[in-house]
């Protein structure tokens, strides 16, 4: 579809695990039609279909990047099942049913306070970081890559180096955020 000899399921998964965003694009194009068809056949419109497709890609990206991810079906089948869940969630929101997020960690539910920083503002500061820090933090916190994989992809010596560098980047970001808000603003 996109060229010669590429985009098998295993190749795409491997590239996503490496943090290659173009693999996500391929996955997106491969599954766009089927997801759109599903949403349109289930009371959705084109905009909703596009939103669901994008959300599905983000979810698949995060799931696949996990070290314990194992695919037992065709990747397209897996993607469509994620898309169906995404669409059912949106349908429930539309019909004002309560959405239960079963994926939330149990140990945080009781004591977790509201976020003390505005995530949007923090994300702006993330984008102001140098590319290495930005990538490293994103790989670790969003993509879920382990230290060894990050070390391999970014050319660090080992996982300890990654851990140290990640800490430095995190502190750099944290200080920028705190400096922006002032300590009293976010406690």
């Amino acid at each position: 579809m996109f060229g010669i000899g590429i985009n098998s399921d295993s190749e795409i998964i491997n590239e996503i695990k490496r943090g290659n965003e173009k693999a996500l694009l391929i996955l997106y194009k491969q599954n766009l039609a089927s997801i759109k068809k599903f949403v349109l056949n289930n009371s959705g419109n084109m905009d909703e279909a596009q939103d669901v497709t994008q959300e599905t890609m983000i979810a698949v990206w995060q799931n696949v990047a996990k070290t314990d991810f194992l695919l037992h079906v065709k990747l397209s089948t897996y993607v469509l099942s994620i898309a169906k869940n995404q669409w059912y969630k949106q349908l429930k929101k539309k019909t004002r049913f309560k959405v239960v997020d079963v994926s939330a960690t149990e140990n945080l539910k009781a004591e977790e306070p509201p976020l003390i920083y505005d995530a949007k503002i923090v994300s702006d500061y993330v984008n102001k970081l140098d590319e290495t820090c930005k990538r490293l933090l994103m790989y670790f916190y969003f993509d879920g890559l382990d230290m060894n994989t990050i070390a391999e992809q970014m050319g660090f010596a080992n996982s300890d180096t990654v851990k140290s560098k990640k800490y430095q980047c995190f502190k750099k970001l944290e200080s920028s955020v705190k400096e922006h808000f002032g300590k009293d603003d976010f406690i």
Partner: protein, 331 residues
């Protein structure tokens, strides 16, 4: 410093839900008794949410085509090895964006395929189909020059050609397209309406030898040929004594004889004027020819055969008239 790193990492694990058992209890307890630690935990969580949001927006921008995907992750000390997928998706169309203006790799493949297909089509039409429609049956391989000659429906047998076009029995029909060989090079012939992959490989007739015969001509003496006898004239030894029913030699003529080997084992001849083609007769057999009363006879293996000058292929007909045989034998 190392302790700070470990503490930061421990909080990460807690926020990811990776702690369990005693480690989890100990962590929660530490948060209860140490408000600064708890504040640090929730601060880290808020920042992590900001990082996630930034990454999420980044990926969505890639999907929407607002941002080019970064193919190779940022490298600190060395370039990671590019994967096979990277090189092949460099120009992948990005959805919903101005990046659609970028060259589409798929289109290049389609264009190349279209050019190839067009070339093959033109080759088929001009190099194969139309020549078949306009030309003769024969489609000679590259070893023959006759393919340039086009359609030659009536080929004289006296003008041997390099190819044979046999749609019919050529030996029974003068108008059949016949081209006799100069040599015994095998020729590939394809029919006018060929089946796929169907071709006929035909060996050509082969001329083994040719020679010129000086053939004596005998003529039957008819009554009007015998002059009336004058009883007053005594016998003159210089004038022949003609008797009706006998023969006399009138003249000699030359006949060109060609010995041919037929690929279909045709046994016969073709007599056209003074040209005689013999099939299934070898020069070593020592045939002889005689004209008797304007009819050509061939003697072969002690038998006489009357050759009909029809100009077409005929089979050998043994002469059975004993009187004719006697005349041929005695003269």
């Amino acid at each position: 410093m190392k302790q700070d790193i470990e503490k930061n990492y421990l909080i990460d694990r807690f926020l990811k839900g990776e702690l369990s058992g005693n480690a989890l209890d100990e962590f929660k307890n530490r948060m209860k008794v140490n408000p600064e630690f708890a504040e640090e935990v929730w601060s880290q969580k808020a920042i992590i949410e900001g990082i996630k949001l930034a990454r999420r927006n980044q990926l969505l921008a890639v999907l929407k085509g607002d941002k080019l995907p970064s193919v190779v992750p940022v490298s600190i000390s060395s370039e990671p090895t590019p994967s096979p997928i990277e090189s092949s998706i460099e120009k992948t169309e990005l959805p919903f964006s101005a990046n659609k203006l970028k060259p589409k790799i798929n289109n290049w493949y389609f264009a190349a395929a279209a050019v190839l297909f067009t070339g093959l089509f033109l080759y088929f039409v001009f190099g194969y189909y139309l020549p078949r429609q306009n030309g003769s049956y024969s489609h000679i391989d590259s070893s023959s020059n006759d393919s340039k000659k086009g359609n030659q429906n009536n080929v004289n047998i006296d003008e041997p050609e390099d190819s044979i076009d046999l749609a019919y029995n050529p030996y029974k029909n003068d108008t059949a397209k016949l081209k006799l060989p100069k040599d015994d090079i095998a020729t590939e012939i394809k029919p006018k309406t060929p089946e796929p992959g169907d071709s006929i490989k035909i060996e050509k007739d082969r001329k083994k030898a040719e020679s010129l015969f000086s053939v004596s001509s005998l003529e039957l003496i008819k009554p009007e040929d015998v002059p009336p006898k004058d009883p007053n004239v005594s016998n003159d030894n210089t004038s022949p004594d003609l008797k009706v029913g006998e023969v006399r030699k009138v003249k000699s003529s030359t006949v060109k004889v060609e010995y041919w080997q037929s690929v279909v084992n045709f046994k016969g001849y073709k007599l056209n004027g003074s040209n005689l083609q013999l099939f299934d007769v070898s020069p070593e057999e020592g045939v002889s020819l005689k004209f008797l009363d304007k009819h050509l006879y061939m003697k072969k293996n002690g038998s006489y055969y009357k050759l009909n000058p029809s100009g077409s292929f005929e089979t050998y007909q043994k002469e059975s008239n004993p009187e004719i045989i006697k005349l041929l034998e005695t003269n």
